[in-house]
């Protein structure tokens, strides 16, 4: 989006210092109100949690190589997969894109100096860290073995592990994401620059807005549900245990009322990132802007009406199951719309195969598989056989890892030069994207077969059915490739911070307000609030090609 605001070409002497240089003390970071610094704090924190979660994942994969296990005890294994689930979902996938990329970019994209409530933003980071520490403490000292779903009555009456502390951690982290959600909603409503109408917003902002709405409407419900579990556990007063007169299925209803929409909390921001990256690297306007924008809201709304498809075998009534199955098919449509629109966006573009775009290609491929295998689970009778098996595991990893993490990496590679003003080696980036894509498919395609064969999830041993072993070995082999794929970016991104060439304000030749300001941006983002006069994604592939202008693509 071009604006009347002056476009800086690098840091000129009169421009204010970058946010990275606005103070060097630890205090200036830990007490900052600057959304960009908070985003960096989040980036560090979620990376740490991703690391812990990955360690747990590796332990699971190694353990399953043999039908009788390799190194872990029953209980340890249960604690490890619970740790993997809780860390990855509550402390990585949910905050990853909104709190890192969204925090950094949302105000800049709409032409604001900061989020509406900077102090609340900082508070949300502290809540996140506090919640994460609670969960880590619980896992370090004794562990927790309920699975991330905390199903009652196991979690409330039977488990002898640190359930309470873990729930307190998830509870606190919930308020962290609520704080972020409130901040984003108000910011999008009230802080847009003049001329930045709703339909000029970058689609990532639409995605973040829809996500925030889900967070605000859903998270409190799981918070109260988990609180009720703690009450039942600690005081033996409760509403879920049949011994106390309750109904354990009520927990599942309340839990999935949030936790199904939570899937969209994880995937919608990633879809937003894809819109930004795909337009830049095809030099095309997005195809079907309005359809993509409204499909985000449709997903956010419909996503609240389909939670029962997690419960087809839970003994909920057959009639309720049918309603939920039907609605689940409806929610598949907006996702299909997005995918087809992205495909049409590439048509007649001027495609540049650079690292972020490779991640986008990976995202589309994996998300399509992940989304379509969701149809098996929304169909009532196929779900009966496949639910609680590795098919489900494979399905949601395709959506969560193939979708959210690919989206996160695409965004991280796209905006890394904006974050730090440094460029990473593109060839290493491409290599890692390729390795991740291959490793991912090797890991999780076999799990579809395993699930169909009947391998239940959360199984430590499978000596009852040793024929599963081949597929487990294949999966573990893929996982080791995937691990290497994740390590490479960690290395070269850190390397680039010190040794990377300067990126300049707009290394990709991208449109959007964030590319009109220096990299890294100054603390107040804009010297003067820009006035937006153009439609979003004002790319022109034809003109680009005609001029045969090589966009400011950094050579290294």
């Amino acid at each position: 989006m071009s604006t009347v605001a002056p476009v800086f070409q690098g840091e000129s002497p009169q421009s204010p210092p970058s946010y990275l240089k606005a103070g060097h003390t630890i205090k200036s970071w830990l007490l900052t109100g600057d959304h960009k610094r908070i985003a960096i704090l989040y980036l560090i924190a979620v990376s740490v949690f991703f690391f812990f979660g990955s360690i747990a994942a590796s332990m699971i994969r190694v353990e399953l190589v043999s039908p009788r296990g390799v190194m872990l005890e029953n209980d340890t294994y249960n604690k490890v997969f619970t740790a993997h689930g809780i860390i990855m979902i509550f402390f990585f996938l949910i905050p990853a894109i909104p709190a890192v990329l969204g925090n950094f970019l949302l105000p800049i994209m709409i032409g604001a100096r900061d989020l509406a409530f900077p102090r609340l933003n900082l508070l949300s980071w502290y809540l996140y860290v506090a919640g994460g520490l609670c969960a880590l403490l619980a896992m370090a000292f004794g562990g927790v073995d309920t699975g991330w779903t905390f199903y009652t009555p196991y979690s409330s009456m039977y488990s002898n592990t640190n359930v309470t502390l873990t729930i307190v951690g998830a509870f606190i982290a919930g308020f962290s994401s609520i704080a972020t959600g409130i901040n984003f909603i108000v910011t999008v409503h009230k802080m847009r620059a003049p001329g930045m109408t709703w339909f000029r917003l970058p689609l990532m902002v639409w995605g973040s807005y829809a996500t925030s709405v889900i967070i605000v409407l859903g998270t409190p419900v799981v918070a109260i549900t988990l609180l009720l579990v703690v009450m039942e556990r600690v005081f033996h007063i409760g509403v879920f245990s049949p011994e106390l007169g309750g109904d354990p299925v009520l927990f599942q209803h309340l839990f999935w009322f949030y936790s199904h929409p939570a899937v969209y909390i994880m995937i919608l921001p990633a879809m937003g990132v894809i819109n930004e990256v795909i337009t830049c690297f095809t030099r095309k306007r997005i195809f079907g802007y309005h359809f993509i924008a409204f499909s985000s809201l449709a997903i956010a709304g419909l996503g609240f009406l389909v939670w029962g498809h997690h419960m087809f075998v839970s003994s909920q009534s057959m009639y309720q199951g049918m309603v939920f199955s039907l609605l689940s098919y409806l929610v598949a449509v907006p996702s299909a719309i997005k995918t087809f629109n992205w495909t049409a966006t590439i048509y007649k573009g001027s495609v540049r195969f650079q690292t972020p775009f490779l991640y986008v290609l990976g995202f589309i491929g994996l998300f399509v598989v992940g989304g379509l295998t969701g149809l098996f689970l929304a169909a009532m009778s196929t779900d009966v056989h496949l639910t609680d098996t590795y098919f489900v595991v494979a399905h949601f990893h395709y959506v969560m890892v193939g979708g959210t993490i690919m989206g996160f990496l695409a965004g991280l590679h796209f905006w890394w030069p904006k974050f730090f003003g440094k460029m990473y080696p593109d060839n290493w980036g491409k290599l890692s994207a390729l390795i991740i894509f291959i490793g991912f498919n090797l890991t999780f395609l076999p799990q579809f077969v395993l699930g169909y064969l009947g391998m239940p999830r959360r199984y430590h041993y499978y000596y009852f059915a040793p024929e599963f072993q081949f597929w487990h070995i294949a999966s573990t082999a893929g996982a080791s490739i995937l691990a290497v794929g994740f390590l490479i970016p960690a290395v070269y991104l850190l390397w680039s911070l010190k040794y990377g060439p300067d990126a300049g304000p707009n290394p990709w030749g991208a449109k959007g307000l964030e590319w009109t300001i220096p990299s890294p941006p100054p603390t107040t983002n804009f010297v003067e609030i820009p006035v937006v006069r153009e439609e979003p994604y004002a790319y022109d592939a034809e003109a680009d090609e005609r001029e045969e202008r090589v966009p400011a693509e950094t050579k290294r």
């Binding site: 299925v249 009520l250 309340l254 609240f304 009406l305 909920q316 009534s317 309720q320």
Partner: protein, 125 residues
């Protein structure tokens, strides 16, 4: 909007609202002891109690919380929460239809002429 005085409303508005709330308060207590509707059926009483509570809440929201005088945006968010809460009641589709699930054949197989003869007969005595 430059001067804060423009936000202020007359004190009488708050007092009137408060008075209305007290009246409704008395009404709801009285109605709890007056049975309405058919014998053995408390649906109407419950509806009345909830209607009064909702009215009170609306009064508080409109006047004490100034939503009557606020922007469209504020109104939207003020309404959304109360509406979305109602969505959760979808789960009653489960609880109300559970007993409707028709399960054939709880009779002992011995009395069932269709029972396969080769099968073990449950003991008949």
């Amino acid at each position: 909007m430059k001067i804060d005085h423009s936000h202020a409303h007359p004190i009488s508005m708050y007092l009137k609202t408060f008075f209305a709330l007290l009246v409704l308060m008395v009404l709801t207590v009285v109605m709890a002891f007056v049975h309405v509707g058919p014998e053995g059926n408390s649906v109407l009483n419950n509806l009345i109690a909830m209607a009064i509570a909702v009215t009170k809440a609306v009064l508080v929201v409109l006047f004490f919380m100034h939503v009557k005088f606020s922007t469209q945006l504020t109104k939207f968010w003020a309404i959304l929460g109360f509406l979305w809460f109602l969505l959760m009641f979808i789960m009653f589709a489960d609880y109300t239809t559970r007993p409707r699930e028709y399960i054939r054949g709880w009779e002992p197989a011995a009395e069932d002429p269709n029972a396969p003869a080769a099968l073990p007969q449950p003991p008949a005595r």
